[in-house]
């Protein structure tokens, strides 16, 4: 996979973004507005436990480990997508 463009509209078709959203849906509030700019901790109706479960599911889906300090640096969904690309590069 290539690194995503910074454009939010292009991110909507990015395969990692699509996977992130797929794994996010079961954990987010039903009416959550999921978008690249959405802040995971505050905009999606998820508490820290829901976020942890989501990260486990995402790790399984992408066959990738996301260490704690990387999670701590992530704010938006776009940040998470960028972190995933970086981790895939480092792996």
């Amino acid at each position: 996979m290539s690194e995503p463009s910074v454009s939010s509209s292009e991110l909507l078709n990015d395969p990692v973004y699509i996977e992130v959203v797929k794994q996010l849906r079961p954990h987010a509030a039903k009416d959550a507005n999921i978008s690249p700019q959405a802040i995971i901790l505050s905009d999606l109706g998820m508490d820290s436990l829901a976020i942890m479960d989501f990260v486990f599911d995402l790790e399984d889906a992408l066959d990738l480990t996301i260490p704690e300090h990387r999670i701590a640096e992530v704010k938006s969904i776009a940040d998470l997508v960028a972190a995933v690309y970086l981790l895939q590069k480092e792996a």
Binding site: S48, L49, M52, F56, D63, P67, E68, H69, A91
Partner: protein
């Protein structure tokens, strides 16, 4: 003041709890009567949430040893062992701990929390990896913050998930330290040790287990889950605490790994805080000397745990996955969880109310910890009151619905019957608590 603004959500929850009853975080006991009873708000109360597993807090010999040390060596060490030196009791307790566990070395810490901070935060450093269970105690999470190692969580008690994560690290340099707990403190479930050890061996990792809740509780001589599972030789590091079965305060790290002593010079929670006072060391030594032979107490403890677990299960409560000296009722409704906890307190039963995010899967938990010192009558009363209040709150079904309906038709109005039943139970409760 603005500096406290960041705690607003915490403060809101605290205020909300206070507005409907007692505050779980600021109870004040008027008097501690015994390992299982105290006076709270003028009412004699059964203690069912104090982790006093062997009931040793009032052990006469421990008290005598503590008083003796207090008179002979004073009230405190006034500094760390690095700066102020060790007392003979510190060294003796470390030797006795190592002998108790059949390990080469032991290091004392001033609390169990600090033992985890000091052990985990020091053993794994920059370039290493800490693999921790998702349900880890706060002390383990805080130890990770103290360490410069990369921290990776694995799903609770899931050795397959752990293996996947170690597999991804297989080509990376650096030590891999897996951290698990014997009995997890919220639900009382145990770690699947044999599976965890198989993974550790396959990937050449080290394994640290926190036996805080299993010391004195599990194993033929009370050494914990590792002894019970027959896997002690496969464990690299054990941490634990004196604040539960041993009935005092303090923590430790024991290990067979050669060269453990160097940790003393690198472990900030060992170096930069005052060491345990002589009286505490003396009480810990005396109580620890009793743990191996406390077979009767362990039998009583597990009998009591089984009685409480079975009683609550039969009443219809949703509990943790296995019988354990920690029995937790899992609840989804925060209001009813708080009401149940307050109701029990008013009826003379003290338990712990545990709220997310400190709980697994976002449960609201009414957590009990059982003691060998509890009587069967105390446990029976706790079950009865939990069931009564649980039914009133609609948390569990009423088993006598049909019988009650017949009674209502034949005898009296529903309101009168309910009132009579409540009064009868209350009178019995009062008598039993006073007994």
């Amino acid at each position: 003041m603005a500096i406290f603004d960041k705690f607003k959500s915490l403060s809101d929850v605290h205020d909300q709890l206070k507005s409907v009853g007692q505050s779980p975080s600021s109870l004040q006991f008027d008097e501690i009567i015994s390992p299982t009873e105290a006076v709270l708000n003028g009412r004699r109360t059964i203690l069912l949430g104090t982790n006093n597993y062997l009931g040793l807090t009032f052990d006469e010999a421990s008290i005598e040893k503590g008083v003796e040390a207090l008179r002979e060596q004073g009230t405190g060490t006034t500094g760390s062992r690095i700066a102020n030196g060790s007392y003979d009791g510190h060294k003796a307790l470390e030797k006795e701990l190592a002998e108790f566990y059949g390990m080469h070395d032991a290091i004392l810490y001033s609390t169990g929390y600090m033992a985890n901070l000091g052990a985990i935060g020091t053993l794994a450093g920059r370039g290493d990896y800490l693999l921790i269970d998702a349900d880890s105690h706060a002390s383990i999470h805080d130890a990770c913050k103290l360490s410069d190692a990369e921290v990776i969580r694995f799903r609770h008690n899931d050795s397959i998930n752990l293996a996947k994560k170690l597999e991804r690290l297989a080509d990376k340099p650096g030590e891999k330290l897996i951290v698990i707990e014997s009995i997890y403190s919220m639900l009382g479930d145990t770690s699947p040790l044999k599976e965890m050890i198989a993974v550790k061996k396959k990937y050449g990792a080290s394994l640290l287990i926190d036996e805080a809740h299993s010391l004195g509780v599990m194993g033929a001589t009370g050494r914990g889950l590792c002894e019970q599972a027959g896997v002690e030789k496969d464990i690299d590091f054990v941490t634990g605490t004196f604040s539960k079965s041993v009935g005092t305060i303090g923590g430790f790290l024991v290990s067979n790994v050669p060269g453990l002593d160097i940790v003393r010079l690198a472990s900030r929670p060992y170096m930069f805080t005052a060491s345990l006072p002589p009286s505490v060391v003396a009480t810990a030594r005396q109580a620890l000397s009793r743990v191996a032979g406390a077979t009767l107490e362990r039998t009583r403890l597990w009998d009591n745990a089984t009685q409480l677990y079975a009683g609550l299960k039969n009443a219809g409560f949703d509990l943790g996955p296995q019988v354990s000296p920690i029995v937790a009722i899992r609840l989804q409704d925060p209001g009813k969880a708080v009401a149940l906890w307050n109701g029990l307190l008013e009826a003379g039963i003290y338990t712990n109310l545990a709220l997310p995010p400190a709980t697994p899967s976002g449960w609201f938990l009414l957590r009990s910890s059982i003691s060998a010192a509890h009587t069967s009558q105390q446990i029976a009363l706790a079950v009865e009151l939990c069931a009564k209040i649980g039914r009133e709150l609609g948390l569990i079904p009423c088993p006598a619905t049909l019988g009650a309906s017949v009674e209502m038709m034949n005898v009296a109005s529903p309101r009168k019957v309910a009132k009579q039943k409540t009064k009868k139970v209350s009178d019995e409760d009062e008598a039993a608590v006073q007994a």
